[in-house]
């Protein structure tokens, strides 16, 4: 039998479709079948994106000489998600999981997004602490630098700023 599509090569892929109780058969050669498959764009029926993704977490030891980041046996104290559970469903369980599995997630996130740090929007209310924390961190770093450089006058100013911020926080 010749291929229904190119009518040149031998048909060795036979597809039967049943739509609205109506049966249609298509006979294609391997080349045309491949194209047909691409065209209708189906992946293997058993393909699960979440599992695929979780598989990326499975190989933390890509770098030779660097010991694998062992998240094996780790369990999130808040929601009880384990690495095994994540491997099965590809979903994290709660906000705490991002700290619990931080080490294992890092390479995965980098593979997916090419980056690791969020640079976009910060929620106005629940992000307040974060913005404050960031400012405090910066000031403390600055203070240390000033102390090392023995610029005590400037350092005192920064110290007062830090105190003020911390007081505001309480």
């Amino acid at each position: 039998m010749l291929c229904d599509n190119c009518k040149q090569k031998e048909a060795n892929v036979h597809i039967t479709k049943i739509v609205n109780h109506e049966k249609t058969s298509i006979n294609l050669c391997e080349d045309c079948a491949r194209e047909y498959q691409e065209q209708i764009g189906f992946a293997q029926p058993t393909f699960s994106f979440h599992k695929f993704l979780a598989g990326l977490l499975e190989q933390p030891t890509m770098m030779p000489g660097k010991p694998g980041i062992s998240t094996e046996g780790t369990k999130c104290p808040k929601c009880g998600t384990t690495r095994q559970i994540f491997s099965q469903c590809g979903k994290l369980g709660c906000d705490q999981c991002f700290d619990t599995f931080a080490a294992g997630l890092s390479p995965l996130i980098k593979r997916v997004h090419g980056r690791e740090r969020h640079t976009g929007k910060v929620p106005k209310r629940s992000g307040q602490d974060i913005m404050l924390k960031k400012r405090l961190e910066n000031l403390k770093r600055k203070l240390q630098e000033l102390v090392i450089k023995e610029e005590f006058e400037e350092a005192a100013k920064v110290r007062d700023q830090i105190r003020e911020l911390e007081r505001g926080n309480c």
Partner: protein, 354 residues
Amino acid sequence: MAKHELAKRASKWMEGTGPQSDIVLTSRIRLARNLKSIPFPHLLNDEGQKEVIDKVVQAVNTTTVTGTFGKMDMLLLEYLSPLEKQILVEKHLISPAFAEKKKGGVALNADETVSIMVNEEDHLRVQLLMPAFQLEETWKAADILDDALEQTVDYAFHEERGYLTACPTNLGTGLRASVMVHLPALVLTKQAKKILGSLPQLGLAVRGFYGEGSEAQGNLYQISNQITLGLTEEEIINNITLVVQQLIDQERSARNRLKEELYHQIDDKVNRAYGILANARIISSEEALKLLSDLRLGIDLGMIKDVDPQILNEMISFIQPGLLQGSQGKTMNAGERDLTRAKVIRTKLAQQRR
């Protein structure tokens, strides 16, 4: 909202008016958000799920939200029939995966520009859906809604990872921006595959009309960003806007070429489509979508003058099985649907010619 309205009322996006509406059908923004300290939906029991829904109901009922977006109705999945869920999918207001769920809810405003899925993969999936090419405006509206919701609920947010989501692919901004484009000329001139095939290299995903895994029926494609972390929201919107503008330019020049070089063939093709749509007695949704695409091209090229261009936007949804049955108020088997679909299209076209 009375439930039967769901099938009768058209969504705002179906109006199909706005910038570059001859090529772009819709602009959509979706934000994935989770609540602080509450396990993600797949780990919640019925009680936990209800708690999340209650929190969202509270958040959408504040005057900050209703003042800008209007009153919101929360529809609970457990009280919706399979048909009603199907209609919500066909109107692009919920995802097909969400329709399969037993628990969960969706908050809708009156013109259906806002839909908030509660307890899908994440606690909240905030969607804004607008007609034509206005991604920036749609993002601005989503940003305002997001801020308004955040006045009531605490979001799970991480200094480095941004907005936390159940699946790592949505981390960071949690933002998925997508644009639905009608590209008949690029398909006809066999350029679509090549051009669209290059989009993944630019960090964009291409999908068919009904999202993940669906075919590109009716020459309709959805373009969306793949990366959500490490870029600002504005960068994501800008990137996709620039690429889609290129795509629009390519489609325009392909249309012009078709008109110049193959006028009679195209004129014939689109008028045949018109002829079949105006006279067919039995039509499948697949065939209807294909012909509606041809008809719309004919309208856009000025070859068909007595039909309204919005027909594509409105009909692509109203010929789908769920909406078709919903608007007729009865369940129908495939054969009956094909008959009714043909009649609905015929009637619509006849009304316009008058």
